[in-house]
């Protein structure tokens, strides 16, 4: 009984850590796709709506996986995190900072997801203001993944961490410095050269054969 309980809790712990890693990869992919939707920098063959829909679908899948990740972590009998810590940051007695970062990511990400689902009713401006929080949620999740797990020694875990960070960093840099379609410029171009100065506007030079 004790053995199976121990084995069960081991299972919960593995599930929690495993789902956490997958979540990190997913969340990173969602952020990269979100940036790609905005800057239109997806591969040429991909229609923009497909990138947008993939971003949306993956984020909803991530929410489902997040539930698994959080529930398995809370139910694990070897560590006491407490249900309050699912929404209140830094309320867990076990590894307060690390879990707190995770909770922060859940809160911020949750706000992003909820406002996105209600986008039509909220209007563009309100939705956009909240959506910026995603750029805070991802670092929180990333730091949580670094500090809450013990597995950085395993090479493929480290690989996932590095790859996720690299992907998101590239996407963010592309967003900051890349040429994206921001829409029409808000003011006209600089001082224009009046046509009267254009020397070609005086009578055009007649061709030699003109009668």
């Amino acid at each position: 009984m004790a053995v199976s309980a121990a084995a069960g809790s081991q299972g919960l712990w593995f599930l929690s850590r495993g789902s956490g890693l997958v979540l990190l990869a997913l969340f990173s992919a969602v952020v990269v796709l979100g940036v790609a939707t905005r800057t239109g920098s997806a591969p040429r063959r991909w229609p923009r709506f497909a990138v947008a829909e993939l971003h949306r679908t993956l984020s909803l899948f991530a929410v489902a996986l997040l539930v698994l990740h959080v529930v398995t972590a809370i139910l694990d009998p070897f560590v006491t995190i407490g249900w309050a810590a699912t929404v209140l940051p830094f309320a867990s007695p076990y590894r307060t900072l690390a879990i707190g970062l995770g909770t922060l990511a859940v809160d911020l990400g949750g706000a992003v997801v909820v406002t996105s689902l209600a986008r039509q009713r909220l209007g563009h401006r309100a939705w956009r203001a909240v959506h910026w929080l995603a750029y805070l949620a991802w670092p929180a999740a990333f730091l949580h993944s670094l500090t809450a797990g013990n597995d950085l020694g395993i090479w493929w875990v480290a690989l996932i961490e590095v790859a996720s960070a690299a992907a998101v960093a590239t996407a963010v840099l592309a967003r900051l410095f890349g040429r994206d379609r921001e829409g029409p410029p808000t003011s006209g171009p600089g001082p224009r050269r009046p046509l009267a100065d254009d020397p070609r506007l005086t009578p055009a030079r007649p061709t030699a054969s003109a009668s």
């Binding site: 829409g183 029409p184 410029p185 808000t186 003011s187 006209g188 171009p189 001082p191 224009r192 009046p194 046509l195 009267a196 254009d198 070609r200 506007l201 005086t202 009578p203 055009a204 030079r205 007649p206 061709t207 003109a210």
Partner: protein
Amino acid sequence: MNTLDSGQHLVRGATPVQAGRFPRLLPERFGGEPASLEEHVTRYGQLPRGGEAGAAGRDAPVVVANGTEGEPASAKDKVLLACAPHLVLDGAVLAADMLGARQAIVVVHDAVREVVDSAAAERRRARLDRVKVKVMTGADRFVGGEASALVNWVAHGIPLPTATPPRVSECGLLSRPTLVQNVETLAHLALIARWGARWFRSLGTTAEPGSMLVTVIGAVRQPGVREIEIGTPVNEVLGLAGGPAAPLGALLIGGYFGTWADPAVAGPLPFSAEGLSAVGGSPGAGLVAALPADVCGLAETARVARYLADESAGQCGPCVFGLGSIAGALADLAAARRYEPGRLRRWMAQTEGRGACHHPDGAVRMVRSALAVFGAEIDRHAQGWCCGRRPPGVLPVPLRRSP
């Protein structure tokens, strides 16, 4: 039809502006002829749905008088406000009374701000109006005169059009039904109220009674603002300005959103909406620009098109990119570099009707008329010739002072 000397009808109807001496507008004056007033107001704009029942409280409509005159070639609103500010203020107050509004905001060009300010101050001292009159300076911006842009300027200091629906006549300043009227229309209103509809109808045509102000510029001996009876032939309008100073190549009628016309064709036409429709034009902002034959019409058109492209509010892609491309193509055409008619036609079709306001539509209308009227010149440019012996510059395209 009698030819009016400048300033007879409209300004004669105005009382001399001397402190303390202006007539009080008695309700009977306009109570007897409400139909003509409303007709007049509705002809030039949309009557706000606030209704003339005079609903007090939050739904009370607002009147905004548009004297910004963003059109650089036109000067009639400035002249009217400088010569007869009380007439315009009377009209604004009248319109407000008619609609049950409690506030009238008069937005004027910077050049005449002081005059209008002092006129409004005189009225306040004499406690003449039940309606609160506020005077503001307009933005130095071509699109600032558009109805929703004007409301946006008054409310938020941003002279850019907003998306309609909802229209300003339903939901404008402070979300109230807003009547935006040109100052000349309000001046007409004041005249009708003073002298009656029959007097007003004694001039002009049946469909378009009264007189109007026109600005005549270009190759005429005495350019300036004149008052004409609606329906006066275009040649007579030019005659009032001293007649052509040189043989004319074309006329731009209406404003920068107006239409180019051949002087021989447009000359005999009556200056009225009905008369000018024969050349696809309309009185518009009351501009008649006379282009001399030795200035290239395509070059002038290219300058105006570039000005209009730069003056775009910059909010809608088709306007910014469309007008920009069209202006570039016209510059190429004017410089005899390149002309691709199919591409230009496609751009014009893709630009009009796709903005939030009518700025791109007006610009495309002007360009279309230019391509039609200057067809011979286009052929000459294709062969490397240009009729222009003087550089273009008849039509003013001022650089914006403020961003």
